[in-house]
Symmetry: C2
Subunit: 484 residues, 2 copies
């Protein structure tokens, strides 16, 4: 009998986009909702986001960033002001026009005519303008600087082609807005926040990134410099995993963020902004997943060790669950996040659920194991080849090192993949050939080439964009390619 | 020279509502925003909310509740369905009718005519209907039960008379929705969640509550039983600090939440729901605050120990800050949240800022203290009378006990105040006299009295409501009074 395939229905090789959707479904991470373009983040997915959030939140608090909460709605006049200044301002957003419902003739409900708002509101696509408005009020003296504010919140941009985690009308994110008295400190801080993102993504999501600066055409509107960390997915496309923007005095000017310096002179502040979002869950899937499903990096995994009891017709059930219970207690005492699946599902289904949910280490305990005082364990990143038998105490003694090793292996594998798929070219003909041949990966070339007309043609024809000028090349090179 | 009053401009006695607003302003907790009825929760206020959230989140996770995230917008048809069933359905809500802006003739922006939604959305006043819709999909078998879901999110209800923390158009909260196979478990769980709220509020916010059941007129629409914890504010009014609802099969019926039982028969589930919100910050202010400002209970205080260095013209500055720095390190090692104010503000201003922000313990370190190897400390709940001098090591050895003692003292003070302001009456004449005389507090009387016509008159005339049938009186008594 052929081994039954219980992983994901399609492979990465055969259909990467479909594989992505299936992984999310099989791991129970999220689903589409009855609201157009909006997702429901299910408990398994939300637990990953919570761990990301808590980890990153500690990192920014160590940098003296303060969290606050600003209104969901933005008065239209705030946006109009911005629209005047910004060409190509994104106008797709949810507009609130009424503040009451009334019974409709057909017995349902409709917006109440008498409750039309004088000034419509939009649901925040970002909180930039309303945070700027507050900063203008809160910053008065040089003593108030630096001011570092962050918000964890939901935001909304009407998406016509939504894709779970990657592009949804509503998503969760953090946006930070820092203000300084001088340009140097502000610019240095924008780079520090990028370093913080890179460290977070590297040390907790096991994702290697290319930190660099955006080319002028990819800069955030109003920014003097936009910095980015670019990650490579397994299909060779780039994904911008985090950005920070040095806004100079542009934003301070439009929001009137000024302060009295030590000499009593009124000065404009310098500001930067920075953000990451639930997109990172999409990145994590596309960087680490395999044909069996997602692999969750251990440091942010909601379940780090999953235990599957193998019980046939209740034979030895009590002993097996008692043995497993002991292990749970020992692992919890170590601070390991552990889950024992003692439901009445079959052990095969339990095993496959843990594989598809990407639990880093799976432990199997059956009657024979208990009799021998042993357990078997399997690493999710390696699979059944890693299956090892040892005593409970040996496992407990090694588990933290094993989790670290899984982290390191995931990182290394992603780094090797990335490095193998960045191709250096000498000219635009070679770049064009790369994309024309449909090769997988990104192209690195002389930064000056992006100014040539032939580059614009490549961009249009192959949906290629400049990803960044890597810091490592000190501005001499640019990396281009397709991106999420 | 008269002692300069630097606390809050008005006293609780002279104008409680104004005192409340002033406390929030002086402690920098929140402010009104440019969006009608919506508040900005400033860093000092948000830090309190974060601590509440993290603490309570741990408590519910220990009860196997899983967090998830549902869309901000609710399709109108979801609400229409509910509106059919529920008389007095609250129709004040933010209605989204368009998904794009366009340039208006006057050069500003307006909702784009071509982007009118076929079906309007409303911004969630609760996520009840959309969570119910998901539960109906997610629950299929008895194996899926119990299912315990919770969401931390912003919600919106259009408020005509907003009041920061207590009643704002947008607020932050958690809503939990638990489903069970049978009524007993579901009802017991609704009571367990109420106990959990009571424990949270008692052990972390130092607020004593009266747990009980709502009378039928105060029940949540669709609930079989509504349970509540009622707290008393210093002006004698009640504040509902948390509620849980046993919904029987009503909600399951309207959302079609059913499962196959072990015999393969389709059954309707039983559900309950439970919520607390940023209102709790309002409660905390009104229970513990004094004429100098808020007093933040130590276990959720963002800053538990505040250090004010007393430095005159830089004399001994280095030694003082070094001494304070040592203390900071020792306190952090103990897990104490500590803040050293080393800004260049005057020590008087620093002291008053800490008082108004309700920091539980304030430490003062001057040149003389350093010379003697000592420090002074003052308890916020007692004030200057508690000022004590001791060595750094003595302070470090005692600080945790002192924080616990402040918690206990705050709780006891609030409990004594509450008990002194619950008045037992024998009949409705006495109840009426209590409110007619404008006496401070709540009235306890026989539960049967709420069915008499004279009670309805008292309710109307004095804006009195039934707060709860306290569990302690086993349904024989009811507590009535004014409430937030």
């Amino acid at each position: 009998m052929a081994k039954q395939k219980k992983g994901v229905a399609v492979t990465r090789e055969s259909d990467f986009p479909e594989w992505y959707q299936q992984v999310i479904k099989e791991a129970d991470l999220a689903e589409n909702s009855p609201v157009r373009g909006c997702m429901i983040v299910k408990p398994n997915g939300y637990a990953v986001w919570e761990n990301m959030q808590q980890t990153f939140d500690k990192m920014i608090k160590a940098l003296d960033v303060q969290n606050a909460y600003f209104p969901l709605l933005i008065p239209l006049r705030f946006i109009s002001k911005e629209a005047e200044h910004v060409d190509g301002f994104a106008k797709e957003c949810a507009v609130v026009t009424h503040h009451r419902l009334e019974k409709s003739p057909d017995g349902g409900l409709q917006p109440a005519e008498g409750a039309k708002l004088e000034e419509p509101y939009i649901i925040r696509p970002t909180s930039e303008t309303i945070i700027g408005d507050a900063m203008a009020r809160w910053i008065n003296s040089y003593r108030d600087l630096p001011m570092k504010l962050n918000q964890w919140a939901n935001v909304m941009r009407w998406e016509m082609r939504p894709r779970v985690f990657l592009r949804t009308s509503e998503f969760l994110w953090q946006e930070g807005h820092n203000a300084f008295a001088n340009a140097e400190d502000c610019l240095a801080d924008a780079k520090l926040m990028l370093d913080t993102y890179a460290e977070f993504v590297r040390e907790h999501l096991a994702i290697p990134v290319i930190p660099g600066e955006k080319t002028p055409d990819e800069r955030f509107p109003g920014a003097v410099n936009t910095f980015t960390i670019e990650a490579m997915m397994q299909d060779g496309k780039a994904l911008q995993a985090g950005t920070t923007h040095f806004l100079g005095q542009n934003f301070a000017k439009s929001c009137d963020i000024s302060y009295q310096d030590q000499q009593g002179t009124e000065q404009l502040a310098f500001t930067n902004s920075w953000g990451i979002s639930t997109r990172l869950i999409g990145a994590l899937i596309m960087v680490h997943g395999d044909d069996d499903g997602i692999i969750v990096p251990p440091r942010i995994a909601p379940v780090q060790v999953g235990i599957v009891p193998f019980i046939r017709k209740d034979d030895g059930k009590e002993e097996i669950l008692a043995f497993a219970g002991e292990l749970v207690a020992k692992l919890k005492a170590l601070g390991v996040r552990v889950k024992l699946d003692d439901s009445d599902k079959g052990s095969g289904d339990k095993t496959w659920a843990m594989i598809k949910q990407g639990v880093p280490i799976r432990v199997e305990i059956g009657k024979r194991e208990v009799a021998e005082g042993k357990l078997s364990h399997v690493r999710r990143d390696i699979g059944r080849d890693s299956k090892t038998s040892c005593t409970q105490d040996e496992f407990v003694a090694n588990v933290l090192a094993m989790l670290d090793d899984i982290h390191a292996s995931l990182y290394k594998r992603a780094e090797q993949h990335r490095d193998a798929h960045i191709v250096d070219v000498q000219n635009l003909e070679q770049a064009k050939a790369f994309f024309a041949e449909g090769r997988k990966g990104l192209v690195r070339m002389d930064a000056a080439l992006v100014d040539e007309p032939a580059y614009a043609e490549i961009q249009d024809e192959y949906a290629v964009t400049s990803r960044c000028l890597p810091f490592a090349d000190e501005g001499r090179k640019v990396i281009i390619g397709k991106a999420y």
